[in-house]
Amino acid sequence: MSADPTQVLAFETDCHIFDGCGFPAPGLHSFLFEPIVGNADSNLYFNKTMLLALLGSLIIVGFFWAAFRKPKVVPGKLQMVAEAGYDFVRRGVVYEIIGKKEGEKYVPIIVSLFFFVWMMNLWSIIPVAQFPVTAIIAYPAVLAFIVYVLWVSLTFKRHGFVGAFKNFSGYDKSLGPVLPLSMAIELFSNLLIRPFTHAVRLFANMFAGHTLLLLFTIASWYLLNGIGIAYAGVSFVMVIVMTVFELFIQALQAYVFVLLTCSFIQGALAESH
């Protein structure tokens, strides 16, 4: 039984245990969507993830628009909530890692990144949408690329060409004969692996989370037949547990993403040693 990637739901609704139907396990096909508009072949199409991405950004803008368009010195409820979120990223992440003086300039991008990633993650458990946008590598990749361009250009601007090279390669005379090897590894690690892991860390977490949720959701439905009903109940409890867990992971991954971004920027700004 092979999954049909064009299906609307993540699994077939008429498939139950003891019905001669194999378990429709979730897989890579669960992360593919038929375009709503356009042709998937032509690179000119619009699908569910894109819709969620744009919708998500509109939600963020809408939320902050409502909260910060006409902010008051004595805040209302909405403004207070938005301020708490803003302050958390600004003080808890940017000031904490880059420092207040140097970090102030990067607050807008870090705040945007945090709420963008969080929103895209949150789609995973929002009913009807129920798909984390960041589980498609393209979205984390774009964000990681922006961050990469930012910190690399910052390094060049701050240290000049040679200084930047030393910064990337972790140049340290005291290493002696191992220095070339160390420099090669550091260059490779900083310039190639770092942006990749930055994106993949987020992607893989959300991908795995979504897969787990799907697994238990599908199992709950699939087991809903005869004696399987008892197991279906267990599986459904797991759906609830995993949903709560995902809620936590979503915020955590958004936090980790901006935390790493800040540490990259901080490394770019740091004095050469």
Binding site: A40, Y45, V73, Q79, V111, Y139, V142, I146
Partner: protein, 184 residues
């Protein structure tokens, strides 16, 4: 195989290769968020946060100022009070001393005046006595002369008796004067 299945098959082999349209949309979505937040909304809230911070700090500063002022006023009062107490104590002390001195002086003065009065009394009495004695002497002389005149007029032959009479008279006078002197 449908074209979608082709893509699906390709992508299923590697979910790490990002489809270009999604990259574009992802970039667009993020740029929308970043644009609104960075250009308008965050500067907005930063301004307000700054205002709030200033308002709060201003309030705190004012309170601090009032507190220090109150403190200084209190200290001033305390100092003044202490000074006043000190002054009062000093005045009391001074008054006591002055009172003692005055009493001493008054006593001395009283003593002096008493002695003066006594001395004056004594002098007066002495003078009176002297005046009285001299007046008496004169009277005695006059009386004696009168008596002598009478005696001479009466009889000259009883000369011896006359002279006894004069002597007796003068003795009596002397006695009387001595007695008076002793009584005093």
């Amino acid at each position: 195989m449908s074209p979608l299945l082709n893509i699906a098959a390709e992508e299923m082999e590697n979910p790490l290769i990002p489809p270009v349209p999604e990259l574009v949309i992802g970039l667009l979505a993020f740029v929308i968020v970043f644009g609104f937040l960075a250009k308008k909304l965050l500067p907005n809230i930063n301004k307000v946060l700054e205002e709030r911070r200033e308002a709060i700090e201003g309030g705190i500063e004012k309170a601090e100022e009032a507190k220090t002022e109150a403190q200084s006023v209190l200290e001033q009062y305390k100092a003044q009070l202490a000074e006043a107490r000190h002054e009062a104590a000093r005045l009391r002390q001074e008054a006591t001393e002055q009172g003692a001195v005055i009493i001493q002086e008054m006593k001395a003065e009283g003593q002096r005046q008493r002695e003066e009065i006594i001395a004056a009394g004594h002098a007066q009495i002495e003078a009176d006595r002297k005046a009285a004695a001299s007046a008496l002497r004169q009277d005695v002389g006059k009386l004696a002369t009168e008596l002598a005149g009478k005696l001479v007029g009466e009889s000259l032959e009883d000369h011896a008796r006359q002279s006894r009479t004069i002597d007796r008279f003068l003795d009596e006078l002397e006695d009387g004067a001595e007695k008076a002197e002793a009584r005093r």
